[in-house]
Point group: C2
Chain length 336, copies 2
Amino acid sequence: MKKKTTIYDVARESGVSLATVSRVINGSSVVKAKTKEKVLAVIKELDFKPNEVARGLATSKTTTIAIVFPQSLFAHVKDMIGGIGDTGRHLDYNINMYTTDDIGDDDTVSDVTERIIKSRVDGVILFNNEHIDQMIEGIDRYHLPIVVIGKQISNETMGSIYIDVKNAAKELIMPYIEKGKTDILYVSPKQNLIKNDDVIEGIQEAYHENGLVFDENNIISSTSSYEFNLATFEKYFKNKKHDVIFCGYDKDGVAVIQSAIENGIDIPGEMDVVGMLNTSYAVMCRPQLSSLNVPIYDMGALAVRLLTKFLQGEAIESKEIAVRYMFIERESSHQN
Amino acid sequence: MKKKTTIYDVARESGVSLATVSRVINGSSVVKAKTKEKVLAVIKELDFKPNEVARGLATSKTTTIAIVFPQSLFAHVKDMIGGIGDTGRHLDYNINMYTTDDIGDDDTVSDVTERIIKSRVDGVILFNNEHIDQMIEGIDRYHLPIVVIGKQISNETMGSIYIDVKNAAKELIMPYIEKGKTDILYVSPKQNLIKNDDVIEGIQEAYHENGLVFDENNIISSTSSYEFNLATFEKYFKNKKHDVIFCGYDKDGVAVIQSAIENGIDIPGEMDVVGMLNTSYAVMCRPQLSSLNVPIYDMGALAVRLLTKFLQGEAIESKEIAVRYMFIERESSHQN
DNA sequence: TTGAAAGCGCTAACAA
DNA sequence: TTGTTAGCGCTTTCAA
C-alpha cells in the first residue's frame, strides 16, 4: 500500500512551499491566481486529500461534533439522523455518534463523557433523557458547547431545540374542558423528545384557567414495550373510561385504541384518543390516530446549526429554539 | 479558558519523561509498578485526557470507523444504531456517521466518500442500497476496509453481514406451493436490509423445484410513502386477489391488510399476508401480521466486530456472515 | 504574494 | 526500566 500523498508532495510537484499549498486548500485570498491554479492542478493530479487529523492537531479544532443517543430512543430517529447528518455535511462538520446503552447506566454515562473529551470534538448534541443533567455537567466542565434536544435550557455555551409541549398540551386540552369533558387521562411515555413535566404543567394550566384542578391520579406511565402496554390497557379499560386519553407517544395511542375497541368502547364515540409526534403508527391505526405533528428532521438540523453558531462565534438571536407544532385531527378524536 | 493539560504537564509533574507517560497511558508492561502508580496519580490529579487527535497523527490510526446511512432508511435504525454504537464503545472505536440525502444523489455519494477519506477513519460500514457499488468503489480505491450490511459480498479487505433472504423466501413460499397455493404476489420494498433480487431468486427456486415457474408480473414495487402505497393497494385489490401476498417490509404488509379488508377480502381466510423484519408495525396491525424476524441490533454489532477484525489483523473465519432469521406466524397467515 | 520554521500532542525507534 | 529524539501532516506567525 503506497503512502498517502501529503501536502509536501503537492508542494514539491507544484514548485511552491508548504505554506502556499496550505493557503490554497484553505481558500486564502492572497494567493496569486496563477499559482493557485497550478497547485489545484497538482492536487487533482495526485488526488491529494488533506489529512483532517493533522489539521486538527495544528488548529486545535476537529470540525467534528458529537451526538449522544440515549437508550430509550423513540421511533423516527431516522428523521432526526437525517437532519443531523445532512446539516453536518452541508456545514462541513463530521458527526461522531455515541450511544448510552442500558447496562451499567452510570458507568456508561461517564465512559461516554470521557470518550467525547478525548476525541476533542468541538461541541456536543444531547437528547433529553433521565441522565441528561449528569451528562451535561460532565461535559460542561470541559467548556464544550452543548445543544440539548427536547428540553428548554441554555447558558453561555449551551442552547436547546425543543417543542413547547406545555402550550401544546394546554391548547389540546382546553377545548375539551371548555365543553365540560374534564375526565382526561394522560399516558406518560418513555421518550426523550418531549418533557413530561411540561406536558403535565400544560394540562394543569388548562384546568386551572377553567377554575378546575387536574387530578394527578389521571396520569399513567407506559413502558417501551408495546405488547406490555397493550396488556395493561386491556385490563384498564375493562372497567374504566374517560372523555379523552391523551398519549405522549403515538405508539401508546395505538395501544389505547386497540384495547378500547377490544373492550367495546367506541372511538371516538365514547372516548377521544390523541397521540404525539405524528409517526407512521398514527396513520396505520384504525381508526386513525389524531396526533401532534412535530418537525423531527428540522429539530436535528436546527440543533446542528445552532451548535455551529456557538462554535464559530456567530451571533445567536435565541439560544432556546421552540419548533412549530401542529395538531392533526384524524378519526380518533373530535375536538371541534 | 485555561489550556488543556498535555502529556508534557504530566511528565513534568511526575518527574518522568514523555515516553514513560506514554507507556503508562498505553498500558505498556515494561513500566515499573511504582513509576506507573505515580504517573497515574498525576494523571488523575491533573485530569489529563490524552488527545486522540495527536495520537492519530502519530500512529496513522484514528480508531474511528465511519458508517454511512442511506436516505431510504428502514424503521428500526434505532436498533441498528444501538448495536453499532454499543459495540463501538466496547471495542474502543469512535463512530463517525454520514448520511446521503436525496438531493443530488451522485454528488452526495462522492462528497461523502471525500469526507470519509479526509477524516482518515480506519474502516467503513456501508448499507446495501441503490448506490452501494459506486460507494464501495469510491472507498475501495483508498484501501479502506469495508463491511457491508444487507448484501453478501467480500474480498481481501471487505466483508459483510447479511440475511440469507433467498433461503428465507424459499422456505416461506415452499409450503404454499406444495399445497397448490401458487398464486403469490411479491411486494418489493425500498429498503436496504434485504436484497430484493435474492428474495425473488428464492421465490423462483421454490416454484422451480415444484416444476413451476414464477410469473414475474407478480412483483409490484412499493414506495416509501405508506399512504401512497395504501392508495395503490386499495385500487389493486378492488378486482384482484392472490393466495399469498409476500411483502419485503412490514409496513407494506400493513397497507395490504388494511386495503384488503377495505375491499372485503378476508385475511387470512381468503388471502395470506406475510411481512419482513418483524417491526412494531406487525403487532400493532389487526389481524396481526406474520413476519420474518431478524436480529437487527446484532447485525450492527456484528458489523462493527467484523470490521475491527480487519483493522486489527485478527483471524477471520468467515467474511460473509449470515444472521439467523425466524418466521413468526401471527394472525395474517396460516402457512401450516 | 510567497517561504522558512516553529509548533500542535503524541508515538516509537533507539540508546542508555 | 527509562529517556532522547525524530517524526506524524498540517497551520500560522514572521520575514522577505
